[in-house]
């Protein structure tokens, strides 16, 4: 609700992408659903930000909102998105189109359906390169071959003329990554890039994505529900719950010392070597649907540390040590620490 458009902060030093008080709404006949509710975060140049949460938490919606591809009737209802301090959420279609692919690349979940089956991978690469640069056909083709080699596709000179169905799932996701990176965007939004892949190659693809992005100097917004992937890949992590950010901070800090009870629960659900957990814990209940988000803190019905205030007032993000957390346990000054599980 707090739509602070007046708070015109100068661009953060080094911040590539800033999202401020973003709200995404879906008008339906039973009322308006708020899929993303007043979230703010930033991504620095060259940084990997992990966005983690259950399905329906609004992660993907945030990603698609940034690149301006929300499916109608979904729409950005408030807030700002800035790239290099320049607002991009209210750009006319054509200007935004030039940013897509050129400055912000995107990798979707399913490589099987991301590529047009009727065109060769070369055609799709060359077409993207030529859309954003002045390269000639042969220059673009050379670059496409280089890119395919870079993403680890063997015999790229031959495979460039093949159709998507002639590639395996993992290989196709490599092609998709090549497509996202082909004109050196400064930010890559990777929306669950490995969920649809075979478990055995998930790690490879994530590694490749991270390596290539750092080589190309691109920051990454890595959307996933897998805390393990985040732990290995991200510099910082934002934990989302019911369309809001529950906690955001450096990965080490969030993992070692989770502050929000929800994050704590998430951590409890991944096995870790060296931790003397007797058993994996789980969070009771499930995330509320968008139609029935409770008042106050959306996590309150499932929270083990709930108290009266959580049921009525919505917590804002508060700085606690290096992280920021939306929880009434951490009101200014009074930093009650969550006891770690034994």
């Amino acid at each position: 609700m707090a739509e602070n458009t007046t708070r015109e902060k100068p661009a953060r030093k080094g911040a590539l992408l800033e999202v401020e008080n973003l709200r995404v709404e879906f008008p339906t006949r039973r009322g308006t659903l708020t899929a993303v509710d007043d979230i703010s975060f930033h991504i620095d140049e060259g940084e990997v930000l992990g966005v983690v949460g259950e399905s329906g938490a609004g992660k993907s919606m945030t990603g698609t909102a940034i690149i301006g591809l929300l499916e109608p009737p979904g729409r950005i209802a408030g807030g700002e998105i800035r790239l290099d301090g320049r607002r991009i959420d209210n750009l006319p279609y054509e200007k935004l189109r030039r940013i897509r692919g050129r400055e912000i690349g995107m990798v979707f979940q399913d490589p099987l359906t991301s590529l047009n089956p009727l065109y060769t991978v070369g055609h799709q690469l060359i077409e993207t390169i030529q859309t954003h640069t002045d390269m000639s056909e042969s220059q673009a083709r050379r670059r496409a071959i280089d890119l395919l080699a870079e993403v680890g596709i063997p015999a790229p000179e031959r495979r460039i003329d093949q159709y998507p169905h002639q590639f395996s799932g993992g290989m196709r996701q490599r092609v998709v990554i090549a497509l996202a990176l082909c004109v050196n965007p400064r930010l890559v939004i990777a929306d669950e890039p490995t969920t649809a892949l075979d478990v055995s190659i998930q790690a490879q693809i994530i590694k490749l994505l991270k390596k290539l992005c750092s080589e190309h100097g691109a920051a990454v917004m890595l959307i996933t529900h897998d805390m393990g992937v985040i732990a290995e890949t991200a510099d910082r992590v934002a934990v989302m719950y019911s369309g809001r950010i529950a906690e955001v901070g450096p990965v080490r800090e969030v993992i070692r010392n989770a502050k929000h009870p929800y994050t704590h629960g998430l951590m409890g659900s991944i096995p870790m070597v060296g931790h003397d957990l007797d058993r994996l814990t789980q969070i009771e209940g499930s995330m509320p649907r968008l139609t029935e988000i409770p008042t106050g803190c959306p996590f309150n019905p499932r929270c083990p540390k709930v108290f009266e205030r959580c049921r009525h007032e919505r917590p804002e993000l508060i700085a606690v040590e290096d992280t920021r957390v939306a929880c009434w346990l951490y009101e200014e000054g009074e930093q009650r620490r969550t006891g770690s599980h034994g």
């Binding site: 006949r29 789980q282 969070i283 209940g285």
Partner: protein
């Protein structure tokens, strides 16, 4: 992570399902979409009205046009109310008894159209029901049995689908004519026509039901049923039938429009309903014969009724399809 309650497969009893279905209907998207679309409401009203007229034609029609002895040649070639007709240099005024005018034998067009509508709807409904029952059965068998039975039924369906309905109906009509003498053929004309139209329509039903059956067949509860010794065919039918009810209804509605059109077309071509029981298509054919002498009403009014009827049924079918398919909204 805990399993969300809605992920657990619950199969409520039939009674519960009906109650639930009823509540969902009036509370749900379908009824909502209906209320939101004035065109659909209009189509619904028109369809119901047409059905009502057809059903009560015997009481509503001002004249019994089926009874040829009641015709009076003195009443022939009268224009509809509000029009004048130049009959070979002589201006003819309308007669208030005949609202929409008369034909060359003095038959009241309005009454003839009411009976025609009745016959058109009769043939349409009968053939769609026939096609739906057979198509659904064959689809169930095809999907459940699989293997050779399945590929045989589907092959036949494929081949038949390449032949347009009109052609199949014509061929069946032609074949029966060669096999029967003219009198027998005349006597069996209506059932043959219904059969011919139904034969051209069963494929759509069979395909849909087969697809749905295949989906259900691979679900775990069917496997589970087999394990605990219940006949899977029985449990499947109980699950498949409710699932295909929606699509079958959509196909049936759209098929009704096509069936009415096919009947009208065949009757127009002179191979449809027997001449003693003129349907809308027959009326149009008879009207076309005298179109050049200026008696336009004999063609225009039956055509108008036919088009409005088919349009209304089509609109209902279209709307039903969209309402039942949430992806298209």
């Amino acid at each position: 992570m805990a399993i969300a309650p809605e992920e657990i497969q619950v199969s409520p009893g039939l009674f519960g399902r009906v109650i639930d279905g009823g509540r969902r209907f009036f509370d749900g998207d379908i009824f909502y979409a209906f209320k939101k679309s004035p065109l659909t409401i209009a189509a619904f009203v028109v369809t119901v009205l047409m059905f009502a007229i057809a059903l009560s034609a015997h009481w509503l029609a001002p004249f019994d046009t089926m009874n040829l002895s009641s015709l009076n040649l003195m009443d022939a070639r009268l224009p509809p109310i509000g029009w004048q007709f130049n009959d070979g240099g002589m201006m003819v005024d309308p007669d208030p008894r005949f609202l929409l005018g008369t034909d060359e034998q003095g038959r009241d067009l309005l009454s003839a159209m009411m009976f025609g509508l009745q016959i058109s709807l009769e043939v349409g409904f009968a053939s769609v029901i026939l096609a739906a029952v057979f198509g659904t059965l064959l689809g169930l068998v095809s999907g459940y049995a699989g293997g050779r039975v399945d590929s045989f039924i589907m092959r036949v369906a494929d081949v038949q689908l390449t032949f347009p309905a009109i052609l199949i109906a014509l061929l069946i009509d032609g074949a029966t004519r060669t096999m029967m003498d003219p009198d027998t053929h005349q006597a069996f004309k209506l059932p043959i026509l219904i059969l011919a139209i139904a034969a051209s329509q069963w494929v759509n039903f069979a395909r849909t039901v087969r697809g749905s059956t295949l989906v259900e067949k691979n679900k775990e509860y069917v496997q589970a049923a087999r394990v605990i010794g219940i006949r899977p065919s029985l449990i499947m039918i109980r699950h498949v039938l409710p699932n295909v009810l929606g699509p079958v209804l959509v196909i049936a509605t759209l098929s009704l429009a096509i069936a009415i059109l096919t009947e009208a077309t065949l009757s127009f071509l002179g191979v449809g309903v027997p001449a003693t029981e003129p349907s809308l298509g027959t009326l149009i054919r008879l009207g076309q014969n005298v179109l050049f002498s200026g008696m336009w009403w004999l063609t225009i009014y039956p055509s108008l009724v036919l088009v409005i009827l088919v349009l209304a049924v089509n609109l209902l079918g279209d709307w039903l399809r969209d309402a039942l398919n949430p992806r298209l909204r």
